[in-house]
Subunit: 150 residues, 2 copies
DNA sequence: GTAAATCCTACCACTCAGGTAGGAATATGT
DNA sequence: ACATATTCCTACCTGAGTGGTAGGATTTAC
């Protein structure tokens, strides 16, 4: 599994905040209730999103979180990258400037690099806005059997 | 990480067998030596490939393995699928006909399904032959900065 | 001043990746 | 017949990471 529960929940939280924007701050308790997820666990996830500058937060009564930008200005790629650390499909791809010692002669490396590129390209092209408006054509593309008839 | 060492080594072994085809059976000791990998560990991996019908094997002296088909007739997707079990980027995608209970209302599911489709499409289009001939244009596509000048 | 909320630190059970170890079965060449 | 080279099979082990839980300190609104 390339994207763990952490990344999936992070996206769910961001989508929930996007859907419920414009009404001041949204409490984590409300999000957990709506999405039917453990609030305690979401706490640790939203902390990462907050420290990463994706949210604004307010402590105390009537406090909570809200998006720092408009939904269309968040790509799925950056949200997942922040919470997952990396989205590389294999651990032999160059990270932080360090590459595998066999890189120069490895015949399979171009495959992994190409796969990494395909994934990043897909995730960078989809925004939070696409998620909450249910842009199936953009998300599912050729694999969507409903997109043609709609 | 979506593809573990097992899947990567499996592909490496298949590529090694493809490169050294036509000379009867190739022993695992030779493969491990050439690829600089633990023979004992490769043993468990090649066993899966063999049982999956991808190889022919011969026990005893001068025994070893060879490809059951031509390199161009193996897609990377089927090799990885066999050794990894699944290539789904998240564990909330339908597997074995069972889908997540929130599937009907989940706004992020189309994203994961789309990502899964993009990955499968890429990996199904690349064969073992592409790997051993170093078809960079096919593997790296738009992400290849050398492909244009070559 | 109290209730509601974020923030922070620590802990924990379970699974899986990435191997290692040792030997049994089988085929070849002499 | 026998030694050797090989696949095949079962069992085990260690460390890291996933997916949480627990408890309290701090801050803010009413």
């Amino acid at each position: 599994m390339m994207v763990s529960t952490t990344g999936r929940y992070a996206l769910t939280v961001m989508a929930d905040l996007a859907r419920n924007a414009g009404e001041g701050f949204v409490s984590l308790a409300d999000i957990a209730e709506r999405e039917q997820l453990s609030m305690k666990y979401l706490e640790s996830i939203i902390s990462v999103l907050n420290k990463g500058g994706m949210l604004e937060s307010l402590r105390g009564k009537n406090g909570g979180y809200k998006l720092a930008r408009k939904p269309a200005e968040y790509t799925v790629n950056e949200i997942l990258l922040l919470t997952e650390g990396t989205l590389a499909p294999v651990n032999c791809i160059m990270q932080d400037g360090v590459e595998c010692e066999k890189a120069a002669t490895c015949s399979t490396l171009p495959l992994w690099a190409g796969l990494d590129g395909v994934i990043e390209n897909y995730l960078s092209n989809i925004t939070l806005e696409d998620i909450i408006t249910g842009n199936r054509k953009k998300m599912l593309g050729d694999y969507c059997n409903k997109c043609e008839t709609e």
